[in-house]
């Protein structure tokens, strides 16, 4: 048994965990789309999202443990750490935004919310694609496409938020504005973290290909 046989399994653990985290991000964004597609039983639907977030937390802790235990890693430890954390943040901000739907007892969220949720789902799907490319770093073309698309979607989320905020402030209802602004900011933050994931993917691409 050579050194390589020992090393590869450790590498595989990270790729496995990254892919699981990315899958959780897609599930969380998908559940967010569900919430806004049929805005009924919001509390129950939120609890299902919370379950997904807990699953994500477990994977994140597992990944951190592996990183602290492992001396031979497929990329720089800092890159791995940033990737784990930014993937986790995407899910956390989706969850936190949805949590405030329940806390604030938002009765009717308005169109902007569904659009931003769909935008987050697309970004999570691109993250999943980009993360899958990490294993071999062979399909750099597809990986670069995913990175560019995530960046574009983050700008789209920005524009959606801007449009929604303008509509919102036109309502002249300060308490409703405060609540919705808070929720939009969480989803906007989730989109920013998708972009952070794309930045880590870019750094890995440059350093390792």
């Amino acid at each position: 048994m050579g050194l390589k046989d020992i090393v590869i399994p450790q590498d595989k653990i990270f790729f496995e965990l990254f892919e699981q985290q990315a899958e959780v991000a897609v599930s969380a964004a998908d559940q967010l789309v569900n919430i806004f597609t049929d805005y009924t039983d919001v509390e129950a639907k939120y609890h299902a999202l919370k379950e997904i977030e807990h699953k994500g937390d477990d994977i994140t802790h597992r990944a951190h443990d592996e990183l602290n235990r492992t001396f031979i890693t497929p990329f720089e430890p800092e890159e791995i750490s940033r990737l784990i954390n930014t993937l986790d943040d995407v899910v956390d901000f989706i969850d936190e935004g949805a949590r405030f739907l329940v806390i604030y007892e938002i009765g009717k969220p308005g169109d902007g919310m569904l659009e931003i949720a769909q935008c987050l789902r697309k970004a999570a799907e691109e993250i999943r694609t980009g993360v899958k490319c990490l294993r071999t770093l062979k399909d750099t073309k597809r990986m670069k496409e995913a990175i560019i698309e995530i960046s574009r979607l983050e700008n789209e989320a920005d524009d959606l938020q801007t449009k929604a905020l303008k509509q919102l402030f036109a309502t002249n209802d300060p308490i409703h504005i405060m609540k919705m602004k808070d929720i939009f900011e969480h989803f906007e933050e989730a989109a920013d973290r998708c972009k952070d994931v794309a930045d880590v993917l870019t750094a890995i691409l440059i350093r390792h290909t």
Copy 2:
């Protein structure tokens, strides 16, 4: 005189500074509890808290200087840097939240504030315990208990904030809501940073035991 004699004093400096930072965090949280226990002379009490925060800043700067000067450190420089910064952040967010009590001229803060302050004090006390365990890394059981308890307290702070926000939004007073929400968010952020300290302690535990 062997190498060890030179090394140990440098290690001790970091442990000393971590413990001082943790002690400052306990003092800051304790002063926050004082403010809400007897909500009179708030401005004077806040200035006492600000003194504590300045003391924390001095220790933080000292710790960063040591880190930049020292080549042999007890843990990875990144771990030390994160520990210094997260300990400092706990105090900063406690201070900043209290500062807004004065700026916004909050006359009567409501019960939720005292509860969250007590929660932060407990978390700071657990941080102090966990940080003390760093010197020898022998009492890993007690250290793990502290880590788990900090994590539990962060969830408790979350729940306290949720409860307080619900009560707050029921008042229908937008300007008061805005002010209080701002303050609660600072204390919630302080609790999040306590959790970040616990995460660094966990990383050190895994890597060094």
Copy 3:
């Protein structure tokens, strides 16, 4: 040709890019002062600021690419990375704050805004001076003065924000308060990031002189 001949050009690229980033920060802060000095055609003036921010983004990406490609760097990669990111953040928060002037259709910003913009411009100018000192690390006296002045200006921005918030909340107009508070928080955040740049400069000073 010795090793030194190979190394120096790579060093120079980083210094060049840091200086370009600092110059962009000064331009952005200067354009912010322009906006508030003569508060007309705000949207057009904001677009000019956005152009500056895009230029900053290009330099930031270029700097990250160099860092990921380069094995021999003038300072620790973590220091370089932090410097690139904090310089970029300064510009981003200036841009984002100004963006909300347009989104919220702020008709008349009040005096506090001009003062905070002038404070940010001074801080950006000190950053430019401090960053220029990085090339040779010879004029440590001037560099330390810049660091202290940035720190002082961050406190000044804090005080300006406090004063402005007090005046703002006295208006009793919740929607206007919400909008203006949001914008002030972005500029305050920009000042915080100036302080973060000063912290990186301090770390480099301690480690490399």
